[in-house]
């Protein structure tokens, strides 16, 4: 590439980035959302769930116990400040789960749940009636079940003792010896890599594709619709220089978005690591390098393809209606890749478009550097990237791209 050609490509890319960053909506879409997405998902969402659970725990539920003779142990279990217990005689219903006359009481939420208990011979039968569309009714049911479990355990132990047997050895005849976590010889870092490999490739692929849609359309069909493309095409730059400049512009914007998203993800992981929920993955330098290469090849392919499809479209609207649904081409293989078993995975998977990069990322995040697989995904990814670039060059070389519909 000559000095003049390089300068023109640089000017195009620079102008695209400047123009794009001057739109505050873009800044929110490309910078703020990626930074906040994972921290919100991993930190705020669990906190929200926690506070919701605490709120549920504190609510007072109305529970009716219907029985001829309610066991005292059970009453004691339910005797808390957050449960209003009303005892009633058991009406003649069979089976106990048949709502009968209690249907309306539950549906109108005048009571949250009804526990029916009946002893027949030596066995206690029970049924819990509730309405699953009500949060307080579900909560009442959960608390009843907790109480029933305690009562059942007490009953089981009592019966075993009465038979003259040792409760512990009867209930737990097979036991784990030692610390359960010691049995897994994978390091914490490897385990973290395994967990992260299940969603990082998916997020990277989807985000790379989706964040490139808007700039790709804006720089191609958008330029044509705004009437700026004709002036640009009459400048002394080749169509390939134009494509390369615009590719660099989109790749820079998308790259910034992906990098920020990864920072957000690492921050969230760091936070979770302090809570011992997940560790930091152990990655060798070569694995990190290969991860970067695989993402770059994927970005070359995706951005070139999106630019080509957007340039092929006659309007911004048409480009949007092509590139929007095209995300399925990424999501479907990405989801499919998650279920492929990496142990003994067949080599051909590393040649399938999109799947190859995602599988590579999964392997590399688990610090598995397998030369044979690397050779296949690198070769095929390079080929697909070149094919996409060739297709984009063909679209940019079309004479009718200048025609403005505006």
């Amino acid at each position: 590439m000559s000095n003049g050609s390089f300068n023109r490509v640089k000017s195009i890319a620079k102008k695209e980035v400047i123009e794009f960053t001057r739109d505050w909506r873009t800044i929110i879409a490309i910078i703020v959302i990626p930074i906040l997405m994972f921290p919100l998902l991993f930190i705020m969402f669990p906190l929200l769930l926690e506070s919701e659970a605490a709120e549920l725990n504190s609510i007072v539920v109305d529970v009716v116990i219907q029985s001829e003779e309610t066991p005292d142990v059970l009453i004691e279990e339910f005797n808390t400040s957050t449960m209003n217990i009303l005892e009633e005689n058991l009406s003649n219903v069979s089976p106990l789960s048949e709502p009968g006359d209690d249907l309306e009481r539950l549906r109108s939420l005048s009571v949250d749940a009804i526990l029916r208990v009946e002893q027949r011979d030596d066995v206690w039968y029970y049924a819990i009636l509730h309405i699953s569309t009500s949060e307080s009714s579900n909560e009442a049911r959960s608390r009843i079940i907790e109480g029933l479990i305690v009562w059942e355990n007490n009953e089981t132990q009592r019966i075993i003792s009465e038979q003259g047997l040792d409760v512990n050895s009867t209930l737990n005849p097979v036991r784990w010896d030692g610390d359960v976590s010691q049995g897994d010889v994978a390091t914490e870092g490897e385990q973290a890599g395994m967990v992260l490999s299940l969603f990082i490739p998916l997020v990277l692929a989807v985000w790379t594709f989706s964040s490139a849609i808007q700039p790709s359309i804006d720089m191609t069909a958008g330029e044509r619709e705004r009437g700026t493309l004709e002036a640009l095409l009459s400048l002394p730059c080749t169509r390939n220089e134009l494509l390369l400049g615009k590719w660099l512009g989109v790749a820079t914007i998308t790259g910034v978005g992906v990098i920020l998203q990864i920072f957000g993800l690492l921050f969230a992981i760091g936070y979770l690591a302090t809570s011992s929920i997940i560790g930091i993955p152990d990655l060798s330098l070569e694995a990190i390098l290969l991860i970067v290469i695989s993402i770059m090849l994927f970005a070359v392919m995706v951005v070139a393809l999106e630019l080509a499809l957007a340039m092929r479209s006659h309007s911004v609207k048409e480009a949007g209606s092509i590139l929007g649904p095209a995300i399925i081409l990424i999501i479907f293989p990405a989801l499919f890749t998650q279920v492929i078993n990496l142990d003994g995975v067949e080599n051909f998977w590393f040649a399938v478009p999109v799947v190859n990069v995602l599988l590579a990322l999964r392997e590399l995040l688990m610090d598995r550097v397998i030369v044979e697989h690397i050779a296949i995904w690198f070769g095929t990814s390079l080929l697909y990237a070149l094919m996409a670039a060739y297709y984009a060059a063909k679209q940019f070389g079309r004479e009718d791209i200048v025609t403005s519909l505006s």
Partner: protein, 277 residues
């Protein structure tokens, strides 16, 4: 002796089945303002795009004085398309500088030329403003400054006064005259004969893809034995003007078929008796 700056030899241009231009041959000489006059869809914009190298001829050639095809020597051209083509999130100067850099011109040189012409166009104060809020006239002036910033040999202007108010149109015309007086070569597309008469040394009348006449305003009047240019134009273009072919250029066959599938037919009572045509 006038020097030929651009030669268009036997150029035809087709879009699918539509022949936009047929066997056009003409020369653009140094220091003249050439007016391309024709109705909508006549082929003016197509010819200008061929001159700027945006389109390639289906047959024939468009070359500069040294025999180089125009698409290989675009740095010698300054182009103002009909749409002006300004980026709204850039300032006027950033728009100009972007094009100058693409032409390989140093920022200082570009600024010196721009500020000189900006004074004439009363635009110096507005160069630092984003073009988003510009009026049509200001946009047109900025596009002109942008096309002039690298010192082109030939300036191609596609309907530069379309949509401008009277004052802005006068300013643009005054600049064109000034450039001509300084020895500039300009190709000026318009469908206003009065404007062409005011500004141009030579008028080329295009109709349905053919050149119907090429000469000075006086020569056109003499050749057609007319009292004024409007009369001359009418006598040269009596055939019905064809529709614009933008749709044919930009729409795929399947897209057109699909659009028509969901378009109800216009009742004959609305179209009248001629609907059977």
């Amino acid at each position: 002796m006038t020097e030929t700056l651009m030669t268009i030899s036997n150029v035809s241009k087709s879009f699918g089945e539509v022949e936009a231009l047929r066997e056009i041959s003409l020369e653009i000489n140094s220091g003249e303002v050439v007016g391309l006059v024709g109705s909508n869809g006549a082929g003016k914009t197509t010819l200008l795009r061929l001159m700027s190298g945006v389109y390639k001829p289906t047959s024939g050639s468009v070359c500069l004085d040294d025999g180089t095809p125009v698409d290989k020597m675009r740095q010698r051209l300054g182009v103002v398309p009909e749409s002006t083509g300004l980026y709204s999130r850039l300032t006027a100067w950033e728009n100009i500088r972007y094009h100058s850099r693409m032409h390989g011109i140093d920022d200082d040189d570009s600024w010196n030329r721009t500020s000189r012409f900006a004074k004439h166009l009363d635009m110096l104060e507005n160069l630092g403003r984003h073009t988003k809020g510009f009026s049509r006239g200001m946009k047109q002036k900025t596009a002109l400054l942008r096309a002039l910033a690298h010192g082109p040999s030939v300036l191609l202007l596609d309907e530069p006064t379309a949509g401008l108010d009277i004052t802005s149109a006068r300013t643009v015309r005054a600049l064109v005259k000034q450039l001509r007086d300084e020895g500039g070569t300009i190709v000026y597309s318009t469908h206003h004969l009065a404007e062409a008469e005011q500004v141009c040394d030579r008028i080329i009348i295009i109709h349905n893809g053919d050149i119907q006449a090429d000469g000075s305003p006086a020569e056109l009047l003499e050749d057609t034995n007319s009292k004024n240019l409007e009369e001359a134009y009418v006598s040269l273009t009596q055939e019905k003007a064809r529709p614009r072919n933008d749709d044919l250029e930009s729409e795929g066959k399947f897209t057109r078929w699909w659009r028509r599938l969901f378009t109800p037919r216009t009742p004959k009572t609305i179209l009248g008796d001629d609907s059977s045509e």
